[in-house]
């Protein structure tokens, strides 16, 4: 079956069309083309029409002002990595994703809207308090990425909406940490990932954030745990390491799948976090 498809000429045309039909949106297509794989030579099959948005000028480009960084949805992972505005921790995550050829095509908007459990930008965007701007024909709304992602392959995107851009508070951090485990170094999906930022000034922990990816269906971040050591003296932070570890342990609810076992995911994540905290809070 050949599905209907639409190639809009600009954003207005795209949103107009989205208001009339329930489309599958194609950005880079790197995940969709594989998820819908067929035999050699056959077209991919979709239950509803598809729309190609990757080349829309309005959905490309990265800008920043004093307060925020604005990443349009169809920027490729390589473009995100190469931009001078991008926070170090997001760059660290992006460069571990897939391989050079896929990073040329896969988009940051696709990684978010796809909402795969293993999407490596997601925990980092949770950590950075990033928001998404969603546009429809007559409206727009801004929502936290952590609210937009509802679960595995599940988002709050409405039928007539498009993920227009990602908005990240423009802030710098003392330490930017990203660690991801997979079966090999290159071109692999995460078994688990841990990201964290930490800022210590004058012996006071000014900022501390942690997010876990690829363990639960949705990335894990808990502000209440973070606040236990924020604005505390470094020595108090050190004494709370085991409390933090046990708090985080209770939040991990992984599952066993083809990439890893639940036990490996949870135990290893906790050990990596423990080592990271010891290293950063003591050294």
């Amino acid at each position: 079956m050949v599905v209907d498809s639409y190639i809009p000429i600009d954003l207005k045309d795209c949103l107009e069309e989205l208001s009339t039909e329930n489309y599958w949106l194609f950005a880079g297509g790197t995940d969709l083309m594989i998820r819908k794989r067929q035999w050699h030579g056959a077209s991919r099959k979709f239950k509803s029409p598809v729309m190609f948005i990757n080349d829309l000028e309005e959905l490309n480009g990265i800008t920043a002002d004093q307060d925020y960084i604005y990443i349009k949805a169809c920027n490729s992972l390589l473009e995100v990595y190469n931009s001078p505005f991008i926070p170090e921790i997001l760059k660290k995550a992006v460069i571990t994703m897939a391989n050079p050829a896929i990073r040329n095509m896969a988009t940051i908007g696709g990684n978010i809207a796809n909402a795969a459990k293993v999407g490596d930008t997601l925990p980092v965007l949770f950590l950075l308090d990033a928001k998404v701007e969603l546009r429809s024909k007559n409206d727009f709304r801004i929502e936290k990425v952590s609210d937009f992602i509802k679960g595995k392959y599940d988002t709050d995107l409405r039928k007539d909406e498009l993920l227009y851009q990602i908005i990240i508070p423009n802030k710098s951090f003392g330490v930017s940490y990203f660690n991801k485990l997979g079966t090999r170094h290159g071109d692999i999906l995460s078994k688990l990932s841990i990201s964290s930022v930490l800022t210590i000034e004058d012996n006071i922990i000014k900022d501390f954030r942690v997010a876990f990816g690829a363990i639960n269906d949705k990335p894990i971040r808990d502000r209440f745990i973070e606040e236990k050591i924020i604005n505390k003296e470094l020595s108090q932070g050190q004494s709370l390491i085991y409390t933090l570890i046990e708090d985080y342990r209770l939040l991990l609810h992984g599952e066993t799948d083809k990439r890893s076992t639940r036990r490996y995911r949870e135990e290893t994540a906790i050990k990596i976090l423990h080592n990271y905290l010891k290293e950063e809070l003591y050294d």
Binding site: V2, V3, D4, S5, I7, F26, G28, G29, T30, M33, I34, K36, R37, H40, G41, A42, S43, R44, F46, V50, F52, N54, D55, L78, A98, N99, P100, A101, I102, N104, M105, H185, G186, D187
Partner: protein, 165 residues
Amino acid sequence: MLKTINFTLNNEKVSIDVDPVRRLLDVLRINFNLTGVKEGCSEGECGACVVFINNQLVNSCMVPMGNVINKEIITIEGFKNTKQFEVIEASFLEAGAVQCGFCTPGMILATENILRTYKNPTLEEIKEGLSGNICRCTGYQSIFEAVMLAKEKGGDLWSSTVISL
């Protein structure tokens, strides 16, 4: 519904009526008979099907035809007419970096991408640059050596980032 898609293929303007969700890989191999573009894993991990789209290395098994409108595509068949290819080919032969040859078109285009990206690639940068290309028989060491040899032989050949056919 079929759509007319125009693009430039190995420096020639072409047009094809095709389902926009059909893979670029299938169109290149079946419709244009460019069989140097190989199908390996079919999921973007082996790099046998890589081509350049607007001078960017991509896996053609992941590209829907709807995303190639007005783009410039170069396959190994087009790339073989360049001076860069001559140097890379000679280096692969000298280093013994070809055995069965199935991965070689992808390895050569990935090598070109590395040499465009890094002025003097380190071993780590070569490994990273080839991380999306899998070889099952030659072994990677000789391929890494071939990339270094190509840089040595090519000199300033890669100072420009645009391929000239």
